[in-house]
């Protein structure tokens, strides 16, 4: 349940929609319980949550939003990051959440499934429906991008109230 909400929250971007998605996903899970082939039930449920959210997002025509970023990525690769700044900013949960929210959805979902729900690469590949190699590269690029966003985010003491 917590994993279902967390994933929905990260994919929808707000609490209200995430709640609806969790409701909807549990109903779907019940409906399709007959299709459950055994294995990890948590991964199975999250697959349903993910599909539910994406179906809903598509309906809201925000699909373009999900499928960008591939090209934008290249220029980020070699930027050096100041480790001290990075450490300091990583400690601020709001900054971290803002940074994760800025990731393209395809990177965000693998990062959430790996770091917050502790799924293996194989399990993530099954949930997301891609090859393990793709999971690895999305995860690595997502992390590099997070490090970059965190290192570039404005100094919070002088910026917005945290």
């Amino acid at each position: 349940m917590d994993a279902a909400y967390n994933l929905a929250r990260w994919l929808t971007g707000n609490e209200h929609d995430a709640r609806d998605m969790v409701q909807e996903s549990f109903l779907r899970a019940l409906k399709f319980f007959g299709n459950f082939r055994g294995g990890d039930a948590r991964a199975w449920l999250l697959t349903i949550v993910r599909n539910t959210v994406y179906t809903w997002l598509k309906r809201r025509q925000t699909r373009d939003h999900l499928l960008q970023a591939e090209e934008d990525m290249e220029k980020f690769e070699d930027v050096s990051v100041n480790p001290e700044q990075l450490l300091e900013r990583s400690a601020n949960i709001k900054l971290v959440r803002d940074a994760i929210a800025q990731l393209p959805a395809e990177f965000r979902e693998v990062v959430v499934l790996r770091e917050m729900e502790n799924f293996s690469y194989k399990e993530i590949a099954d949930i997301v429906g891609v090859r393990i190699g793709t999971v690895m590269s999305r995860l690595a690029r997502g992390r590099r991008q997070l490090q970059l966003i965190l290192s570039q985010s404005r100094d919070i003491s002088g910026g917005r109230a945290s």
Partner: protein, 255 residues
């Protein structure tokens, strides 16, 4: 392994996804290369801070999911449908309740802080069995154990005598778990012991639910009247559930 090789494998290494040989090679390189080991430390720090950004499930969501499911369930499942045979319906109903019980009962398991708490509780149970520290107050009498907690805890745990249900009270102790003092009541079931951990909560009541056994010990968790309860024991789940029912019945006679 050179820096470039390591760079490609750094994420997989941090995620514990490398085979043992390559993992050892990566480790070797990290020990000898300051730049790479700094990058690795950064990555680990990033992993930790991402995992802390987990969103907690909002209050009331669990309940509203249950309500929604019950509503749909009673309409959909019990409306005759030409494709479904009766046996299939009852099968679905059972499947539905198993599934729900499974996910709703998982409150304690997925999140890492809860995992840590669960591990602490299990540790405490194991320590109490192997060490000499099963109880601080030894008594079969609830009227001795209950006042003993006064002044040692910032709350008053219910202490019940369940000898009538074949779960005699053995005693109690105070544990420090999850950063706070927790009451541990010790009950006996034949030759086995049950540790019942009690601490206050602001959350709503939750029915008794089994959590994935921890290192071979069965764990039940429930919430009632402002208290969290975790029962840990090597007794089988049925007996542990009987215990939970007997305790809840005695502590909260109105239910």
């Amino acid at each position: 392994m050179n820096c470039e090789d390591l760079h490609r494998l750094l994420d997989a290494h941090a995620d514990d996804e490398l085979d043992p040989l390559r993992s050892a090679e990566a480790e070797l390189h990290l020990q000898s290369c300051n730049a790479c080991s700094a990058a690795y430390e950064n990555l680990l720090a990033l992993k930790r801070s991402i995992s802390a950004a987990h969103f907690p499930t909002p209050d009331g969501l669990r309940e509203s999911v249950l309500t929604g499911v019950r509503r749909t369930h009673s309409v959909a499942t019990f409306t005759p449908h030409r494709d479904f045979r009766p046996w299939l319906l009852s099968g679905l109903a059972i499947a539905a309740s198993v599934l729900l019980g499974f996910f709703l009962g998982q409150n304690l398991s997925p999140r890492s802080s809860n995992q840590a708490l669960l591990a602490e509780i299990t540790d405490s149970h194991i320590r109490s069995l192997f060490g000499t520290h099963l109880t601080d107050v030894v008594s079969f009498d609830q009227h001795t154990v209950r006042p003993w907690f006064e002044g040692k805890l910032d709350f008053a745990p219910p202490v019940e005598d369940l000898s009538g249900h074949e779960f005699p009270l053995v005693g109690g102790r105070v544990e420090y778990i999850g950063g706070r003092p927790v009451a541990a009541l010790v009950y006996q079931r034949r030759k086995h012991f049950i540790n019942l951990f009690i601490w206050p909560t602001g959350g709503t009541a939750k029915p008794v639910a089994a959590i994935k056994p921890q290192r071979g010990y069965n764990v039940l968790h429930w919430r009632m009247a402002g208290m969290n309860y975790s029962a840990v024991s090597e007794v089988n789940e049925d007996d542990l559930r009987k215990f939970a029912a007997a305790f809840s019945g005695a502590a909260n006679p109105s239910h």
